[in-house]
Each structure stands twice: as structure tokens, then as C-alpha cells.
Symmetry: C2
Subunit: 204 residues, 2 copies
Amino acid sequence: MKKLNEEGPRVYLGLVHHPINNKRGEVVTTSVTNLDIHDISRSCRTFGVTNYFIITPLKAQQELLKRILGHWNEDKSSAYNPDRSDALSIAQCVSSVGDAVRSVMEVEKELGGPEEDPFVVVTGANFKMYDGVAEDLKEKLKIDKRPILLLFGTGWGLTAPIVEGADYRLEPIFGSSLDGYNHLSVRSAVAIYLDRLLGASESK
Amino acid sequence: MKKLNEEGPRVYLGLVHHPINNKRGEVVTTSVTNLDIHDISRSCRTFGVTNYFIITPLKAQQELLKRILGHWNEDKSSAYNPDRSDALSIAQCVSSVGDAVRSVMEVEKELGGPEEDPFVVVTGANFKMYDGVAEDLKEKLKIDKRPILLLFGTGWGLTAPIVEGADYRLEPIFGSSLDGYNHLSVRSAVAIYLDRLLGASESK
């Protein structure tokens, strides 16, 4: 059984496939991709994220996801690439952002923590306003022991009700191209935020 | 014609497919993946990297790469997803690390800079020793105007001659998992290093 990590912040991550904006601002459901499952699981495991929720209401997508996660649990795949299989052990599918919140509460209770709802943090490349930078949130996490749920959008980003309903909006990642190009993959954005929030370095 | 960026550091990035160590420490050539092309191009463009070199001596892989890059240059693909096509404009294939170094010198000369060989920086999750952290290198880049070539390994990492022959070895990315799990994808590692070296944030 896992133990409650008393030392560091307890961070959960959710990749939202619904509700999501498309290019025209309509609310859609995006597809689960094999790559997001693997790359983001590996980043989550490396930075000590407790659980990685892949959020989609589509039953067919949930089934696909279960098949992929199941494949890597099989002895053969696990023996060939144990690190890959290990990373996926923290990935799971839930139907909605609300279900992710409830899952965090359940896991926290199992780990011996108080049954508290997580502090929901959202990110987005297109945010015009935000509550603080990663460093601020990192400081806050040291003092406040409440678990956090970090939500990332797919497609053209999280919808306004999700963004406005969250507890905290993080500063977007600003690139440094001279012409303002700023189109990171969600996988790259996840890696950067986890490093900023949870990374260890001699310089930090 | 592009202009020499006089303000910031000029950074070039190389993804090395040969020479690479495999799991058993043998020298191999890894395969080019579609995903590395796209994700790393987008990260490079976002953080203002001048050129992204995909390094493989295999002719068949070079042909594949040219077909992929060519596809995104076509009008149809470009119109559907201009940001994707834009990102790939900085990606190119070269046959060896030496060719990447020579390409940097040519591009620098074209941009009006001195014909100077780049400062070669290597990274690796398994480094036991290193020359400094990203913050040190960032400071150095502000003072020294020499272009840098940042090399990333695929497979089980860059070979010893490449690592030892480089000018600078960067601190590995240390995760924060309680059990020491540390297996980021190269795509995630690239995103994190570019953010550390070139990212703009209100907190920086």
C-alpha cells in the first residue's frame, strides 16, 4: 500500500478531453492519444505526481485506454520495458473533471489524509489573466498541505466555466521566439510545469 | 532573410540518433520518430531555437524525414494547420554531429555572425558529473556571444566520446519521485531544458 507523502506537496494531474474548446470556440470532446498517455505518465512518475487522470466521457475511448493500460500490465510488455509499465501504473481513466476531484478525495482518504477536496489549478497558453507564477504556487504548497489537482486542456484549451471555476490560474508558459510563436504540445507544457513546480536542481 | 538575433543567445538543437548507446551499452543507430520531429520542432520554435537538427547517417531515415517535412510544406497541410508547418520550417536532417556543427557555422555566417564553431552542450539523465546547472549556462550565454549547440541523445543516451568531447555537460533533470524513478521522454527533457535556458516568466 502506498503511504501519504508527508514531506512534499501531493499533486494530481488531469488531462481534460471534455469539455474542450475547438478552433472555433465550440465545446467538443477530443480523442485520447497513445502518446499523451505514455509521455505524460513518465513525466508524472518522474516528478512524483500521485495519480494521472485521463478525463473523457466517451465509453469507447475509456475502453481503448483500458486496453492500452492493460497491455502494459501484461508480463511480457512489463519485462521488456519495466519503466514504461511502471509509469502507466499511476494513469487512470475518469469520466469528468468532477470525477477526478472525487477520485483525489478517495485516494487521499486511502492514504490516511483528511477527506478534503483538492485545490484545482488550471493552465492555458491563451490566459489573459492569471493568479500567479509557478514559484508562488510552489511556496503556497509548502505551507498549505491541501492536495492539488493540476488540469491541462487538449485541443484549443479548457472551457471558460472550467477556468473560471478553478481555484488558481497559473501563468502561461511564455516562449522566447522573436515573432511570438507559442505552440507547445500539451506533453511539453506538462513537463515544463512539473519541473517548475516539483523539479529538484542544485540551482533551486 | 532571417536576421541575426543580437539580443538573446543563439541556440541550435540536435537530436542524436547515432552514435547512441543501447540498453547493453553497445553503439547503435536509433529510429527517427514522427513524434520527436513534431514535438521538438514546436518546443524549439516556441523558445526561439534557430535550427533543429535531426542527426542520422541512415539514408532511408533521411528520405523518410524529408517526406514528412515536405508533406507539411504542401499548401493543403499548411493551410489546415499553419502553426505545425511553421514549426517544422526550422527542422532539418544532417548525417552526423560533425555535420550539425558545420551547419551551425554556415547558418551563423549567413546571419552575418563570425564563422565560429558552436559551444557544444550535452545533457543526459545518467550523468555522474556535470559542469553546471542551466542557470550557470544562461548567465554564460548572456556574456559570451558564441552560439550554442545543445545535443540530446535518444535510446539509452549519448556515447562517452560525444559526452567527453563536448564543451559543457549540463546537470541532469532530477525528478522528485520518492523511489527515484527518472525516465522522462526526450521530448519532455528538451521542453524542460529549453524552458530553463530560454523561458520567459514574470518570476525569472
